[in-house]
């Protein structure tokens, strides 16, 4: 079996936002209203002279026990055998229960207005979306199927994002996760997330 996961090293993210741009171009997200499948938060941590600037990339955690999927009344949110959680826009009625259930704020609405705007923004012939839905990251499943990495991983200049298979014993991300170097967000909620972070604050003191 394959279980895709991502490891994000907070030490090497430089906050260039190239991942956001690459994702938006690849997945045609409604950037005109500041909605992104992945977002890099820019935060200052500390007091006085001792301040660290932290860039924190955030995206769908492709949980093994995804609450967005269990609350979805139509089955529009579903999980592939490889662990990727996807949205079927033809089934999604846009009740946004998934957005309410997601602890990672990974879901955002795409309305009919956005679909119209998207046609103008991305081009009538290249824009793929036809209907509204509550959108989210899908680990660029279309690229992964072709053996390529997600757009955000491929474009990351600091190699802060690494994509791999947790079920492959030789995959570096499996080792980072198994050793506890990379840890999930809010694992106590029982969502079993598959995006892991390498902490930066220990190293920075």
């Amino acid at each position: 079996m394959t279980r895709y996961a991502m490891v994000i090293d907070l030490n090497t993210c430089v906050g260039c936002n190239a991942c956001m741009a690459a994702c938006a171009a690849e997945n045609q997200t409604p950037v005109w209203k500041n909605s992104w499948r992945t977002y890099v938060h820019d935060k200052e941590i500390g007091t006085g002279e001792d301040i660290h600037r932290r860039f924190f990339p955030r995206l769908c955690n492709h949980c093994s026990n995804p609450p967005c999927m269990s609350v979805c009344p139509t089955g529009a949110t579903y999980q592939l055998d490889n662990g990727i959680v996807q949205v079927d826009e033809d089934l999604c009625m846009g009740c946004q229960a998934c957005a309410m259930a997601c602890p990672y704020a990974a879901r955002f609405e795409v309305t009919y207005g956005d679909v119209r705007e998207g046609r103008e923004f991305f081009g009538e012939h290249t824009y793929r979306r036809r209907r509204p839905s509550v959108d989210k990251c899908n680990f660029c499943a279309q690229r992964v199927l072709e053996g390529r990495e997600p757009a955000c991983v491929e474009t990351c200049v600091g190699s802060a994002r690494q994509f791999g298979d947790l079920d492959n014993p030789d995959d570096p991300i499996r080792q980072m996760v198994a050793s506890g170097t990379a840890r999930p967000l809010m694992a106590y909620l029982g969502t079993e997330p598959n995006v892991y972070y390498i902490d930066d604050l220990k190293r920075r003191g």
Binding site: L10, H41, K43, I45, R54, F56, R58, P67, S70, V71, C72, P73, T74, G75, A76, D90, L91, C92, M93, G94, C95, Q96, A97, A99, M100, A101, C102, P103, A105, E109, V110, T111, Y112, R131, P132, S133, V134, R183, L185, M186, L189, G190, T191, Y197, D199, L201
Partner: protein, 320 residues
Amino acid sequence: MDVTTSFVTQDIWTWWLAIYLYLGGMGAATLTTTFLTDMYLKPHPELVLWGAWSGIAMLGVGSSMLFGHLLDHMAVIHVLNPLVLFNQPHAWIAWGTQFIVWMMVWGFLYALPYMLESAFFGRIPLLRDILAWEWVQKVGRTCGRHCRLCGWAASINGIGTVVYTGLLLQSFPAVALWHNPGVPLLFTVSAFSTAMAFLLLVLNLAIKKREEDRPLRVLYERTDLMLIAAELVILFSFFFYLQRGSQSAAISAQLLWNNWGWLIGFIGFGLLVPFFLELKGVIKGWSSPAPIMVASVLVLVGGYLLRYYFMYAGVYAQPW
């Protein structure tokens, strides 16, 4: 990583969804209460017609709140299909939609024999003609013969709808205020309390104040009193549950118990004032129905405020 955690409320489901939860719960509880009253306490066609049609109307308006905010209205067809329960048995909206739809259907069928006999419905143009159709009469007679079946089918779906309004919020794991078993309990008690209050208004205002209905009014008053007391106990438990534990819960507690609308509006005027008004009515009685009607109106307003503030006070922890 958690040192940077921030706590935020949501603006996805707000006042309009509170209307959905409020009218859904109250409408279903109203219909269920009147049907059970008619089947087991006192045959009361007028009350059934009021309960069935106001329940259906509340469910209709409430559901339109959710429907209106769907991003793709056509896709609602997927959740109206009963087979959705086989595909999505863990999704409460799927269950809730089915409960609501079937409660309306069975509720209509239970009320149909009474509608056929009702002078009021016989005076409404078009409806009068429809009720005179032979097959409608036949369906009405069949439902009359199997009224217990229709009544229980409607009531089970009604209770399902009431409980669903709480289970829906409970299914969001990130928010401590919502993700606990107290929410379905609180919403169920509140829904039946608002239904009692609504029916007391119906019995006092719409259905002429008949002496033979007095035991029913007293029963509803007493039931409402107990339900308000239960609601206060549940809220007391919530208060202490939220104080200690996760920070999400503690911040929800601060948001609620530092808010005058919650404290004075909901707990004060929505629960305590009606509680004491009804308590005096039960112990010593009132010379006029006015205090009970005031209490009923306050309970109805309080029922909405509960859901309104619950929606706004749900807090998410965001460790980024």
